[in-house]
Amino acid sequence: MYRIKFLFSRSRSLAYISHLDTLRLFIRALRRTDLPLAFSQGFNPHPRLTLALPLPLGVTASNEPGEVYFEAEVSPEQFISELLYQMPEGLQVIKAIEAEPDSPALAALVEAAMYRAELRSFEKNESLNDNLGDITEKSLEKLMQKNEIVFTKSAKKKKDSHINVRPYIIEAKRDTQTGGLVVLKLLLKAGSRGGISPVFFLEQLALESGDESLNAACWNLHRECLYYKKGDILKPLSERM
């Protein structure tokens, strides 16, 4: 068994497909190449491809890790060049390396994610943006002072469960180096050990502000990086590749 780890980016034109759609897209693209995909066992064998963390609908990304297994040896160069012609515009593999077949799965390493949220500037009306910038900063401050932010998870058959997700917000601040734009940097816990979705965060922010124009749908969300933990320090997952 051979294993390739890769990094990919997703731009606006493909931001609106779900995680499952993205997986299916990768698999179909790989099937169109001549690469010797490895399949799982069982009645319904499927290619062994995983992405480190699902990308939410509407979110673009620049450094998303994924991994895939092959039956025969495939070089990273071959992987990238064969896949290049089969990927639609908007989804691009930017890096690949060979990986030990039995090193830990990428998905199990994910600890946190860094997002950039940019408020869509409508009419390029600077004073409007200034105003919204102020409101955003104030609401952000209030939100971060809270000890508890409750996320209600509704399961189909079980009772709803309530989780305090405040501890999952590691850092949230306005990026002031962006001219007139309103941009937030959000470092949020993510992965199998618990996390908070950036969309939920923005919804809470909008609620806090009471302003419709800060509605979650008014932000462009971009995932910049995923992190793993080395000792107590968060390190970019892409550095391991």
Binding site: R12, S13, Y16, I17, L20, R31, N44, G58, P88
Partner: protein
């Protein structure tokens, strides 16, 4: 490529991927270099439209021409429509986000009657007047194709023309001709006159139905150069016909999300209720070599892991077992599973299904349609009780876990005992096979209501009344309640009624459609959107009696609203088949024809 308004709207709707248009294999061309640009409009949601084989065939056969372009558009979902109207965003094609109004031609695919309100809604969202008479030469030419064109009369006032038969034969020719006429600055009337001379093209403006005072249709007059009867066009040799091998691969899951290769077109079985069985005649086969070659190309171009061997009655393909073997050999290593969508209820088919579904034996689907041998003879679904049980027996022996069975109620000559027989047959099946499968036998039964369709031997037959549909459904509901472990479902009576109204309707129904749409009817094929109350209002406000349409029995000598449209089957054959059906009618001869 999308402008900021579209981008904003997309961020607010559910399933925005329905409206993206940059899917794998989608075609993007420079509009300025095209002689003619056309929008293919499917009047239902993306997931339904993208599963339509006609779309794929036409998309490729038009787009492979250098100077022609076809882009796609589907009915927007309710939330999308709301956003579009709120933001003054006109309906646009997916590939280039071009407003529909800018196209030379908008072609609607007319697959089922319940999509008609979507057609009107799409015209309106495009900013076009609904009625042909209110549109100008600068507006796009509005054309229609698909099975409903064998009686498109309720839609006639909204359309410029319809293509009868297989559009891949006609459409490129029509568009190239339009390119020439466009250069000459020909007006709409002149263009339509030209087109009415093309075989298979029906220009409704050139036909005038004549009614008497009682609104009884007397005859249909043809004007100008238009032929008295429009005869459908067909592809003669499937091996030479264009077939899509690089279809668009959707981002999101669609109803049929797989590669499809068509084995043959038409069906020779002649079940009397089945419109497809007549309008797609004659049977034309694709050669095994060609099928294998297409399959190979399809899989390579799409990356699909499933290949559907489609046709109206796939097990009728000669030496199908051999073909499947060839496909297995040729596709080996690609890890593609083949599937057969339409199986006959016999042992041969069960054997084939068994081969294909090694290891995934959940349910087998069959359509006996009627539960008594008499009624099966009436509809010409000639299969005996013994054959049914022995096929089911084979299936269980082969390891299948259950069955999905399809029946119909309201068929001509049907009596309560025929309806009750559905219950007893299913009970019987359950009792016989229950102990023979691992775990519980999965048995699901779905019952539709007969809709008499144009260009079938049953075109003269009435549909049973709405109350009667409900009464017979009630018999089934009661009966199945007493049998545990059967998943019983039935089609909504009201939608079947509407289908019948439009399937046998005429041009006088156009105002009804308009009214229903104005009142808010759309996506009528979706139970969560369908509102019969709104339809009832529309009937009341236009003074149209729906039952007059659905329940009327035409006499053989009556002029039918679709008499000028010819699907290539002799009228005499329909008459003969109708009489034959009734000869198996009630024993007492109550139904004398």
């Amino acid at each position: 490529m999308h402008n900021s308004k579209i981008e904003l709207v997309l961020s607010r709707v559910q399933k925005p991927a329905r409206y993206l248009g940059n899917e794998w294999n989608s075609v993007h061309k420079d509009h300025l270099e095209m002689a003619v640009i056309m929008a293919f409009a499917f009047p239902d949601l993306y997931e339904v439209g993208m599963s339509n084989q006609g779309l794929k065939i036409l998309y490729e056969s038009v787009n492979t021409q250098n100077n022609l372009l076809m882009e796609r558009v589907f009915t927007p979902a309710v939330d999308m429509e709301e956003e579009m109207r709120k933001n003054n965003l006109p309906l646009f094609t997916l590939e280039s986000a071009t407003p529909l109004k800018n196209f030379d031609v908008i072609g609607f695919s007319l697959q089922y009657e319940l999509s008609y309100t979507n057609v009107l809604n799409m015209l309106d969202l495009a900013g076009l007047s609904l009625y042909r008479s209110e549109r100008s030469s600068d507006d796009p030419l509005i054309i229609g194709g698909g099975p409903c064109t064998f009686n498109p009369e309720p839609l006639a006032p909204f359309f410029d023309l319809f293509v009868l038969g297989e559009s891949e034969e006609v459409l490129p020719e029509l568009l190239l001709e339009l390119a020439v006429l466009k250069k000459k600055d020909a007006g709409r009337k002149e263009i339509l006159k030209h087109f009415s001379e093309i075989e298979g093209v029906y220009v409704p403006d050139f036909y005038e139905p004549i009614y008497n005072e009682a609104e009884k249709l007397l005859k249909i007059n043809n004007k100008a150069v238009a032929p008295g009867r429009v005869v459908k066009r067909i592809v003669m040799d499937l091996d030479d016909a264009p077939y899509p091998t690089v279809p668009v691969v959707p981002f999101i899951q669609t109803v049929h999300d797989r590669a499809v290769v068509e084995l043959f077109r038409g069906c020779g079985r002649g079940c009397r209720f089945c419109q497809a069985g007549y309008i797609f005649r004659p049977v034309r086969r694709r050669s095994a070599e060609k099928i294998v070659a297409i399959a190979k190309n399809l899989v390579a171009a799409t990356g699909y892991d499933e290949l559907s061997l489609s046709s109206l009655s796939s097990s009728d393909y000669p030496h199908l077992d051999q073909l499947i073997e060839d496909l297995d050999n040729k596709l080996d290593g690609d890890r593609v599973k083949c599937s057969l969508p339409s199986l006959r209820l016999d042992s041969y088919s069960v054997k084939l299904a068994h081969r294909l579904h090694q290891g995934r034996r959940s349910s087998l689907t069959f359509a006996p349609e009627a539960a008594t041998e008499r009624l099966r003879r009436v509809i010409r679904k000639n299969i005996s009780e013994n054959e049914i049980y022995s096929a089911l027996n084979d299936a269980v022996t082969a390891g299948w876990q259950g069955f999905k069975l399809y029946f119909m109620i309201g068929l001509p000559t049907e009596k309560d005992e025929d309806v009750e027989a559905i219950i007893s047959m299913c009970r019987d099946i359950r009792n016989r096979f229950r102990g023979r499968v691992k775990g519980a036998l999965k048995l699901s039964v779905s019952v539709a209501t007969f809709v008499p369709k144009a260009n079938t031997p049953f075109q003269w037959e009435p549909q049973i009344s709405l109350q009667e549909i409900i009464r017979r459904q009630q018999i089934l509901v009661e009966g199945f309640r007493k049998i545990p472990g059967i998943d019983f479902s039935w089609h909504d009576a009201e939608t079947s009624f509407l289908e019948a109204v439009f399937a046998r309707g005429d041009r006088l129904l156009a105002p009804l459609l308009e009214k229903a749409w104005k009142l808010g009817c759309r996506l009528d094929g979706w139970s969560e959107h369908f509102s019969f109350a709104l339809w009832q209002q529309a009937f009341a406000k236009t003074g149209i009696d729906g039952a007059k349409y659905s329940e009327r029995r035409f006499a053989f000598e009556d002029c039918l609203p679709w008499d000028h449209l010819d699907c290539g089957v002799e009228r005499e054959l329909f008459v003969r088949e109708n009489k034959l059906a009734h000869s198996y009618g009630e024993e007492g001869g109550a139904d004398n024809v």
